[in-house]
Amino acid sequence: MTLERKMLRRSFFGMSAFLKSQEGLLLLILLVVMFILSRMSTQFLTTGNLLALTRLFVEVGLMTLPMTMIIITGGVDLSVGSMFGFTAVMLGAVWQYWGLPLPAAIVVTLGIGTLCGLFNGLLVTRVRLPPLIVTLATLAIYRGLAFGVSQARSVRGWPESFQFLGQGYLGPFPIQFLLWVSAAVAVALFLGRTAYGRYVYAIGNNETAARFSGIPVDRLKLALFAFSGFMASLAGTIFVARVTTTRADAGTGMELDVIAAVVLGGTSISGGSGSIVGTTLGLLIISLLRNGLTLAGIKGDATVIIIGAVLVLAVWLNRLFARQR
């Protein structure tokens, strides 16, 4: 089939093309999941529950944004859960032990998160280590720092004004939900509409070619890893404001949720393709599954089983579809 024919067909049957795309498929799955879950529990499809749910997925959601871009470049960041926990602990430490005012403590925390990410990025771009092994090592290092700094003690007594960030509403919407929506839109626009966004795809498709085309591959990768650290610390800050305590083990295994959402959203684990829309749909499916199954009386540990299976299944299906195309 010639290209013109193909394009004609696509515009003619735009709807069927959408349904055949990964995003369309995901939307369909999302609707089916919502339907089944609403049958299993009467509380599921209530506005109250759905809005409360947005609170829970925002923390993972913020981290899926840089993760999507990192995976598109062909890398991965396994250390996000540990950066999340470490920065949450550091927020408590900076605020309570250094005695900084809270706004300053938040800025310092975000700075620490960015530095953690920057460290990952430097090891990847300067020392040329594979992202997988770098972030596997820093996963342990940052988690160890979280335990070491806090000695497994928690910091409590956060002021009301700070808790607003994790528990407040602006109109009908939770604060952090609005934060996440604006971040997601910004990243989606960056990826789709700016030259640097397109570079991200170029790196994932063929890094050598990208380098020869004069794309600042290393600087871009470095920025993405730093952004990942920043988002993890932002999510960590919101987490502290939501649960009003710091825990050194916060976010353990969170990288699984983040990567699962991204990969389920159709981002190829070998790089080169993916979208924020897809990631968001993947995130919604995973969060709804978690929340819905919990409401239906299934314990938290069992949802981990399902997410593990969904992750492997999603990549496998993606491979099968990719081979067909």
Binding site: V127, T138, G144
Partner: protein, 327 residues
């Protein structure tokens, strides 16, 4: 990362000094210095009972590191063995409680671990899913299943025969004997057997290995299956070492084992590495773990130390690789 290198066990050009330049030698010297330092700082470190504890603590990561070395040498990764260990430990513990003959219990445990490894291998080799995704999924799947089924309950009151890891022969604990024998056999296997060399070829240059007629998929499948088998042996030691089995058994175990392998000089890019190096790596981790207790360092820092070690080892690996290229 080139095919000729893959077949030279210690790396590049052979000279009299070559063994001293290897990561294994560096590691052995470092280990000796560390033990000496600890012995000077706290003489109690050299007491027979403590040395026995260190060796037993090293034994099950070292045995699991055999399989992991094969996986990483083949340029794959398996981060699910902590969960495989939990499945086998909980399964055998529960079976032992039913009064089943203990040898049969152990056999079923080994079979279960091998099967879980084979499942990983099938998904990687035949369904062509990247090993990091397969084993990340398996990590949470099996861990979740164990916690869900046991509801977090501990298993105890196993029959006396179950606790083989607590017994000794000639004053040396059984797990240590197992470690020595398995490390020796696997080391010889990887160095001299055609199958062992094929693992290096698969990891060193997959394209070349395929052209040389090595069945890549079957080898990758085999490597993961073997990894499950060795993880199961580690699990049997783990389960029978103390009088209880917890459902969070082996949490973070994969990290300990990967650290041992990478610190032991196996390149994360595949193609090079020795069982002997991984053994030294496991030993080093056990000494550091015990040493920190002796020096009264909070155990909360342990993960940071392990993570830093892994980074140090891979950076050294890259540096050495560049020197090889320069020559």
């Amino acid at each position: 990362m080139n095919a000729t290198n893959a077949f030279a066990p210690t790396g590049t050009r052979r000279s009299l000094l070559a063994p001293l330049q290897s990561q294994e030698a560096t590691l052995a010297i470092f280990l000796a210095l560390l033990v000496t330092g600890l012995a000077v700082a706290t003489p109690a470190f050299l007491e027979a009972q403590n040395l026995r504890d260190v060796l037993v603590n090293a034994s099950f990561p070292a045995i699991a590191a055999i399989g992991m070395t094969m996986v990483i040498v083949s340029a794959e990764i398996d981060i699910s063995i902590g969960s495989i260990l939990a499945v086998v430990a909980v399964l055998t513990g529960n079976l032992a409680l039913t009064g089943m003959p203990i040898p049969l219990v152990f056999l079923i445990g080994l079979l279960a671990g091998t099967l879980l490894g084979a499942l990983n291998g099938a998904l990687v080799a035949y369904a062509r899913i990247p090993s990091i995704i397969v084993t990340l999924g398996a990590l949470s799947f099996w861990r979740g299943l164990v916690i869900y089924l046991t509801q977090g309950a501990w298993i105890y009151n196993m029959p006396e025969a179950f606790h083989f890891a607590q017994r000794s022969w000639l004053g040396v604990p059984i797990p240590v004997w197992m470690m020595i024998v398995l490390i020796a056999l696997a080391g010889l296997f990887m160095r001299y057997s055609p199958l062992g060399r094929q693992f290096y070829a698969v990891g060193g240059n997959r394209q070349a290995a395929m052209l040389a007629g090595i069945p890549i998929k079957r080898r990758v499948f085999l490597v993961f299956t073997l990894n499950g088998f060795f993880a199961a042996i580690a699990a049997l030691i783990y389960a029978s070492r103390f009088s209880v089995v917890q459902s969070n058994a082996g949490l973070g175990f994969e990290f300990q084992v990967i650290t041992a392998v990478v610190v032991g000089g196996t390149s994360i890019m595949g193609g090079t590495g020795t069982i002997w190096g991984s053994f030294l790596g496991a030993l080093l981790l056990a000494v550091i773990g015990t040493g920190m207790t002796f020096l009264k360092v909070s155990p909360y820092w342990l993960q940071t130390v392990q993570g830093s070690l892994i980074l140090l080892a891979v950076v050294l690996d890259v540096v050495r690789r560049r020197q090889v290229l320069v020559r």
